[in-house]
Symmetry: C2
Subunit: 368 residues, 2 copies
Amino acid sequence: MKFICRQDQLMIGVNTVLKAVSTKSTLPILECILIEAQNHQIKLTANDMELGIETIIDGDILEEGKIAVEAKLFSEIIRKLPNNDVTVDVADNYQMKITCEKAKFNIMGKPGDDFSYLPVIEKEKTIRLSQFTLKELIRQTIFSISDNENNKLMTGELFEVTGNKLTVVSLDGHRISIRNIELEGENDPVKVVVPGKTLSDISKILSGELNDMVNIYFTEKHILFEMEKTKVVSRLLEGEYYRINRMLSPDYETKIILNKKELFSCIDRATLLIKESDKRPIILTIGESQMELQVSTSIGSMKEEMEITRTGKDIMIGFNPKFLMDALRVIDDEEITIYMVNPKAPCFIKDEKESYIYLILPVNFNHA
Amino acid sequence: MKFICRQDQLMIGVNTVLKAVSTKSTLPILECILIEAQNHQIKLTANDMELGIETIIDGDILEEGKIAVEAKLFSEIIRKLPNNDVTVDVADNYQMKITCEKAKFNIMGKPGDDFSYLPVIEKEKTIRLSQFTLKELIRQTIFSISDNENNKLMTGELFEVTGNKLTVVSLDGHRISIRNIELEGENDPVKVVVPGKTLSDISKILSGELNDMVNIYFTEKHILFEMEKTKVVSRLLEGEYYRINRMLSPDYETKIILNKKELFSCIDRATLLIKESDKRPIILTIGESQMELQVSTSIGSMKEEMEITRTGKDIMIGFNPKFLMDALRVIDDEEITIYMVNPKAPCFIKDEKESYIYLILPVNFNHA
């Protein structure tokens, strides 16, 4: 095998597939990238058996062939080369020569025969959205998955398609994050749970551009994300996802509208006084046009007032400040609306169209 | 005690003294900042008994007094406040109220009575240089101090003043870094060893501006750095520093001139193949107008050629690539000159005026 390509193109390709390289495997082949040069295409593939990524790079093939190469070493070498033409030349004994300007590297490759290719995915059920939208969807929900492997389904996110709507849901037992977006045309119904790790990995690959599209295909066991030059295949999580609809009652007793940034800064300051161990809540006391926030711990106390627009009743309610901050951090609106029922019922932060809904359970507190 | 000052000014002050706050002390008072408001000055002091820093901040004093406050908590609170006027108000029971806009914090302070003030330094022997120059001096030598506490003197740097010259030296047994700079006027002779930790801490405080000056005062046991608003006092290391002059012979057999950046990139690439454990050298083979660099390890091999201008003999010599890179990283010249004698004698990287001299011992290698 022999090909020539640009260092920056090769680097982008290697970085793309690197997310699917296993780092702590006992199978050395899982720590490799497979490089294939054939049919006028240079293709890089990595597959850790949960997640598989392949990507195409531009270049000139002088001799067809394939080889597996240790991913970390190969990516470090390519990263450190000058931004110029790189020649990769593999001899029959799997010796790989990498040449760029005056630099010459010699490393050992492996035959690619025992490398696991990506599973073939039937392209029946599909949706199409921009890479920007998918990246945003993930950013705005990924923070509330659970990292507790005992609740496997909570470590993933629900992707549900009904007609022209895609709903993405994550939850961890204390809160639920929901994003609803409109899709083009009518789509076949889908309801799958995608592993959180897949979503954070693919999020790093997505361009974030509104003009770059991604096609998503669903089968019973797999999800395939197809971009212009890159394919990502992941296993799905098995099981039936939690029914959340009965928790989403539209009734409320108190509704407040307030400035998001101001609220965030205030809670951020208050958390200084809260140690991981003592888990004190931040207490909101909502009056007619003012909200008082207070925290009181062994370290000290803090009090701050904010102006709000209120509809409904006065209320005093306590929250884990981290849960409020996680939701506020990903909301792009300057003004947000919070709906509350009573100090024991979940509150909702949502916009009018319900393009986002963040449900957060309050916590008990001792009346001061 | 009560005073009002700007949040950003207070933050700068706190960050400045924070370097002298002890983080792992059994004496709680060493983890505090002392705040004193008197004689129209707000002064912050921290002192971990090795290093002491005090700094003045602007503000209005409404009531004189002093208090010690836990440094980490206080700095985090100040950092999170809006950039506006901050009021610090301490009651008789050492309750400290910090108010900024609508945020109100209450934390406990301590009486400052058992706080250790900075030692008083006699201002006899002194030199004066720009903060930029001192910062550069430190950056260009600090990397070759030793972190082995058994050789206490090697963990510091020699500061030697003779007439109008300041020489700063660091060494770790494998290499020596020397910077010579010209001072204004004639100065009293000084020869002291300053702890490396002091130098890296002060380096973070120095403005890096040519127009900001720093006066340095030397006594037998202490060094004092005096800037406009800030004083830093450190203990010195005791003992006689190594005699390095006899190692600095001007003789050489081979002299090469080459591009620094090119050499750095090449060595940087080569180190990819070197694991911490096997310590393989990079081997330079110097010919008439070309230098070949090569590395060969269990991971693979690498070869690269560079154009050079040579005077003297051919030579083949091996180095620990890290030592070469450390020196190259801090040299600002585009072209550098390297002087060599034989494969077992130290090489020198230095400029003509000897404003910098980097001595590096070569390492043995097996002829390929």
